[in-house]
């Protein structure tokens, strides 16, 4: 049996040589993503802006205009309707009643349920979410904090473990991944909710994993080929790890693809975010973060200064792995 090889042996792509183009393209896309978020905004779920969401499943595809009219006629505020998953399922979003506490939001839910049950016999209500403005504000804060801490924590880790250039290049590349994901949500106007924060953090985790593998190889080659030109060395490292980068991206994409198609509508936005993140993260590992090391002035000498620390760590690993 001939085994599958996605990347042919001895592939040698000059990633470093095209770094100017890659940087320009990356900067452009990132700016576009930021602009998209600025102009179109994110379609925030009730998690982040507060409000009331009722998900209803009809027996057949309802006319959205009629449904909107039915809900507007109830006088419970401006409703936003969105088809969710299959054509028969609609999520209805309403503002929280400003006064009257829980009694009032109960009343809104009851009103909507009564009206829909009357006009659309057989409808079932599969989900309600009510989030007050206070809680949603906290969720936003916590979400932003979590993403920032993750990015900074990981950058600091790679800075202490290696040279500062690795920390900075990782930080830049990951910020790019996060911004691109946000841009994707601004353009598609998919609902941005708590699950998406989990997706963004996972993208950060995955992307960092990817970059660590390449960075680790760069370090290894720097020790091995002390005289080699930095550009050639980085190209060599990226190319050597390219089969792994591609293989892993493909397996993860296969798994996520199954989730996207078969995982049900609740997870769809989450999975879409993750798939995009894998593509973006892989791109930034290969084209951006390693080439950025050169622009940041990483030289074999600067690496040697830190190698004392690394050698101690390496010694420890050697002791650990001798028994196998």
């Amino acid at each position: 049996m001939r085994l599958l090889k996605l990347v042919p042996d001895n592939t040698n792509i000059g990633f470093v040589a095209m770094r100017k183009w890659a940087f320009a393209l990356t900067a452009l896309l990132t700016l576009a993503a930021v602009a998209a978020v600025g102009v179109r905004g994110l379609h925030m779920g009730v998690d982040f802006v507060g409000g009331l969401m009722i998900e209803a499943r009809f027996t057949e595809k309802p006319s959205m205009d009629k449904l909107r009219g039915d809900i507007d006629s109830l006088g419970v505020g401006n409703g936003t309707l969105q088809q969710f998953g299959d054509p028969n399922t609609v999520s209805i979003r309403l503002p929280l009643p400003e006064e009257g506490g829980e009694g009032a939001s109960n009343a809104v839910v009851a009103k909507v349920k009564a009206e829909l049950t009357k006009s659309y016999p057989g409808v079932i209500f599969t989900r309600y979410d009510t989030v007050s403005g206070k809680v949603s504000g906290e969720l936003v804060q916590k979400g932003v904090l979590a993403v920032m801490l993750a990015v900074i924590g990981i950058a600091i880790f790679s800075w202490f473990r290696y040279e500062w250039q690795f920390g900075v290049s990782t930080f830049v590349a990951i910020m790019h991944d996060v911004l691109m994901t946000l841009g994707f949500f601004a353009i598609t106007q998919l609902e941005f909710d708590l699950n998406i924060i989990a997706a963004v953090l996972t993208i950060v985790g995955y992307s960092i994993n990817d970059k660590m593998v390449i960075d680790d190889r760069i370090r290894e080659n720097m020790r091995k080929y002390r005289k080699m030109d930095m550009k050639a060395l980085i190209d060599l490292s990226v190319n050597e790890t390219l089969p792994r980068t591609v293989m892993t991206s493909v397996t993860v994409m296969l798994a996520l693809g199954a989730l996207l198609i078969f995982g049900g509508h609740v997870l769809r936005g989450f999975t879409a975010a993750m798939m995009l993140g894998i593509v973006v993260g892989t791109y930034s590992s290969v084209y951006v973060s390693s080439s950025l090391l050169i622009s940041l002035g990483l030289t074999p000498e600067s690496a040697m200064r830190k190698s004392k620390v690394a050698d101690v760590a390496k010694g420890a690993e050697r002791i650990g792995s001798n028994e196998g």
């Binding site: 085994l3 989030v131 989990a198 985790g205 892993t248 296969l254």
Partner: protein, 533 residues
């Protein structure tokens, strides 16, 4: 490499067997599971988004607790100084800016008043602070300022009591297996699996259920009452169902009997008009008090007050001596029943508001489980096929590791009694994808070393050794992201992080340690001179 001692093989295999076995109870149907001995009853719980049910986050307003404490303090001070011996006359009592201030009429008694008030304060916190600071201002005014520690302690106590009351109320409703946890300083999370319509539960939890009986002030001028002015010693309360049409009523400030003296409350029907009512029974002291006041006030009305609103104001036709009474009001059977439950389980020490609510219907939950399982199965099949096509025998070893890993993750989750949520399933699928990463790293490295011309044995040894370092480093950073998600995440994010973190730990073990054992056993037996990778 080849030297894999027997004890090590046993250790690895048995640890994995235990991990897999731990996951087994999770797959049993509930009926069989419940018959298992208790030490085997550890399984993965389903989150509300999969089992269906309601999640309700309740919040108390600390300012309200502070206000109540101030009111109580005022009551205590009045009682102590006016009724105690010797009497100390006070006036100009105010509760402005969260402080209690009053004037001692006779300046020579100020010191004595302070002496008598000090014992009313209580210790708060660990620093020996009191819950109120007592000061004398302008030589005749005494000011009691609540300390932050005092307020914190009071909020904490109120929340503890509130949690117990909620627990009793939900149990009275007959709902099964609710989870009630305090969160932060002033919140309580209530999770009720299987509950489809949380409106009833929210109504029940939204009632403070503070019940009071007070006499109606019949001397009050109706015109003044309508404008909200009450005679001295009385207060104006809302009375939405007042037959006279005016939505307020004047009642005496003094409480005849309160709900604290109840021992039972049941929904029933009025014998005359067959309206739903709540029948209550007082304890001995409450019954005597109620009997005395009703004897003294025959043919006058009294007000039944719930949470500051008058429900009804019936006439006392005859002394009520048996210790039972009837609460009439504009009830339906359901609302009367709810009130009975609320009264039986005691009043909440502080009003709670719902700040977040999430309900998932059972259909959606079942759908999510089904699609989650299908997606996981297809993802696994796709990844396994792809790995086999790419690495042949080495791919098969990796695949075995991935499959075992899935069960070990479930086993560890069961051991920790962790909850599987829908995002958790996504975490599973993602773990299936990333778990093979370690094997991809190892196998690619072996390929590389072979290309460089190393021998089979050396290549394998080098592959595992060099890749292990990379795998360790990459997973540490991945775990940092997961750990932050777990600490800061709420709800779905947390459920996802749990699976991710467990998955990172177990997948490194199965993918590195376990496959290395398989590969070396194979190499030892067959001594291959060429490998197909």
């Amino acid at each position: 490499m080849l030297d894999f001692p027997r004890w090590k093989i046993w250790l690895i295999v048995s640890s994995l067997v235990v991990g897999v076995l731990l996951s087994v109870p999770t797959f049993f149907p509930e009926r069989i599971y419940n018959q298992l001995p208790s030490f085997l009853q550890a399984k993965v719980n389903l989150g509300l988004d999969l089992s269906g049910g309601s999640h309700i986050l309740l919040e108390a307003n600390p300012a309200e607790v502070a206000k109540q404490r101030l009111e109580n303090m005022e009551e205590q001070v009045r009682t102590e100084l006016r009724r105690g011996d010797p009497k100390i006359a006070i006036g100009d009592i105010s509760r402005r800016d969260g402080k209690l201030a009053f004037m001692v009429r006779d300046p020579s008694q100020v010191d004595a008043a302070v002496e008598r008030i000090r014992p009313l304060t209580q210790g708060a916190g660990l620093t020996g602070q009191r819950d109120f600071n007592v000061e004398v201002v302008d030589s005749s005014t005494i000011v009691l300022t609540p300390t932050q520690a005092g307020i914190d302690t009071a909020v904490n106590q109120a929340m503890d009591v509130a949690k117990e009351v909620i627990d009793r109320r939900i149990n009275e409703m007959g709902t099964r297996e609710p989870t009630i946890i305090r969160q932060g300083s002033n919140r309580i999370v209530v999770q009720v699996p299987g509950l489809q319509d949380p409106a009833e539960l929210k109504n029940l939890l939204g009632q403070t259920a503070k019940l009071e009986f007070k006499l109606v002030d019949i001397s009050a001028n109706p015109a003044e009452v309508a404008q909200g002015r009450a005679p001295v010693g009385s207060e104006i309360l809302p009375y939405p169902d007042n037959p006279s049409g005016v939505p307020v009523i004047a009642v005496k400030r003094q409480v005849m009997v309160s709900g604290e003296e109840l021992i039972d409350a049941q929904q029933g029907f009025d014998q005359q008009n067959n309206q739903p009512v709540v029948n209550i029974r007082f304890n001995g002291a409450g019954g005597r008090k109620f009997g005395r006041v009703t004897s003294e006030n025959v043919n006058r009305p009294f007000a039944i007050i719930l949470d500051g609103k008058v429900l009804s104001a019936p006439n006392i036709n005859e002394p009520i001596l048996g210790g039972s009474a009837q609460i009439s009001g504009n009830f339906t059977v359901k609302t009367a029943d709810q009130l009975a439950i609320a009264l039986r389980s005691g009043k909440l020490p502080v009003a709670l508001t719902v700040v977040e609510e999430r309900t998932v219907g059972p259909d959606l939950g079942a759908d999510s489980i089904r699609s989650g399982i299908i997606a996981s199965a297809i993802a696994t099949a796709a990844v396994l096929t792809f790995m086999f096509l790419s690495y042949g025998r080495f791919g098969l070893y990796a695949n075995l590791a991935v499959v075992i890993n899935i069960f070990v993750i479930l086993g560890v989750m069961a051991l920790m009694n962790a909850t599987l949520t829908l995002p958790g399933i996504a975490g599973f699928v993602l773990t299936i994808g990333t778990a093979v990463d370690a094997n991809v790293l190892v196998n690619e490295r072996i390929r590389e070393e072979r290309r460089r011309g190393r021998s089979v044995l050396q290549s394998i040894e080098f592959g595992y050794k060099e890749a292990s370092r990379t795998i360790f480093e990459a997973n540490v950073t991945h775990a940092i992201a997961g750990g932050i998600m777990f600490m800061l995440g709420s709800g779905p994010v947390k459920g996802f992080a749990v699976v991710l973190l467990i998955g990172i730990a177990t997948s490194v073990y199965t993918a590195v340690v376990f496959t290395r054992m398989l590969v070396s056993l194979w190499v030892r037996r067959h001594r291959p001179t060429e490998i197909h990778i």
